[in-house]
């Protein structure tokens, strides 16, 4: 799955990613946004002992893995450990990588496991991915107000990043991780279920709830009345 892919049948195709944007009118991805397709070659070279190839993979993904670690753990030191351990373990176990998925997906899987271990150590009684969901905080149909065409453009990039960090940090980890894997990292529903050790149905249910919760949380910043 392409990272951040939204595909609504009947509407113009819009594919978004941290580094790729394709619009309906211009289907050709921007050169700087294309996910480079030499990843498999780099992995093969790294497996054969070419450390510079592995370093290229590190350079390519270090920021994303650090962001993922920050988003899950909400702690800089933990995020650093997560990133370092993920790259060291992936290097150490490169021989076991069979190429069934993208290297990046495999790396994300390692990083998520490391991040969840950090959370469990920090809050052993609070982080359970099997925790049942309650209906008490049902966000559905609260605060229905349009945001206008490009609500994020009302904020400077730094301010927007702070808002996003805050709202995602307010979520329970069981929701946060599912959203980050599925919607930000573009990991498939099945792979997300595998990584987290939960059912596909649980992934779908949590993704729906998380999307609605985040919508509700962002509403106070982006609703049209805020811009007037």
């Amino acid at each position: 799955m392409v990272p951040c892919q939204l595909s609504v049948a009947g509407s113009p195709q819009l594919t978004l990613g941290a580094r790729r944007i394709v619009s309906a009118t211009d289907p050709k991805p921007l050169a700087s946004t294309i996910v480079r397709d030499d990843e498999a070659q780099l992995v093969s070279a790294a497996k054969a002992g070419d450390v510079s190839a592995f370093e290229e993979l590190v350079n390519r993904y270090e920021r994303k893995i650090f962001r993922l670690g920050m988003n899950i753990t909400q702690n800089r030191e933990d995020a650093e450990d997560v990133m370092q351990d993920a790259f060291l373990k992936s290097f150490q176990n490169l021989d076991r990588f069979q190429g069934d998925s993208r290297f990046y997906t495999w790396l994300v899987r390692i990083a998520v496991n490391e991040a969840l271990m950090k959370l469990r150590k920090r809050r052993p009684n609070q982080v359970s991915l099997d925790e049942p969901l309650t209906e008490a905080d049902d966000p559905i149909f609260r605060e229905i107000e349009d945001w206008g065409p490009s609500p994020e453009q009302r904020f400077a990039q730094t301010e927007l990043n702070e808002i996003l960090t805050q709202v995602i940090g307010e979520l329970d980890p069981i929701f946060r991780v599912v959203f980050l894997l599925r919607d930000v990292e573009g990991i498939s529903t099945e792979e997300t279920a595998q990584v987290l050790g939960i059912s596909v149905a649980a992934v779908k249910s949590r993704l729906l709830r998380t999307r609605l919760k985040l919508r509700q949380k962002l509403n106070k910043y982006f609703r049209r009345s805020e811009s007037q």
């Binding site: 009947g10 978004l16 920021r63 650090f66 990133m83 060291l88 999307r211």
Partner: protein, 81 residues
């Protein structure tokens, strides 16, 4: 289709994996229900905003420690080969 059903199908709709007949029902509902249109539209924008966000900057000291640790691992591995 009613509003509750739209919400239940929202994720599949936004991911483009909804059965064609259900999608048509859903879109017919959206055409006449402004509340659902807003929920669908703002949920879609929520995902887009997160997707478009830049990865946080990687602090220089953090990056340096990562690459030092990797170099150390590379050296150790080359000695064992």
């Amino acid at each position: 289709m009613n509003c509750k059903k739209v919400i239940l199908e929202l994720t599949s709709y936004l991911d483009g994996v909804l059965d064609a007949s259900v999608r048509i029902d859903l879109e017919q509902h959206l055409a006449r229900c402004s509340d659902c249109r807003v929920v669908v539209d703002t949920t879609r924008k929520t995902i887009q905003i997160f997707c478009n966000s830049e990865p946080v900057p990687l602090p220089d000291d953090v990056r340096e420690r990562l690459h030092t640790a990797l170099l150390e691992r590379f050296r150790r591995n080359s000695k064992t080969i």
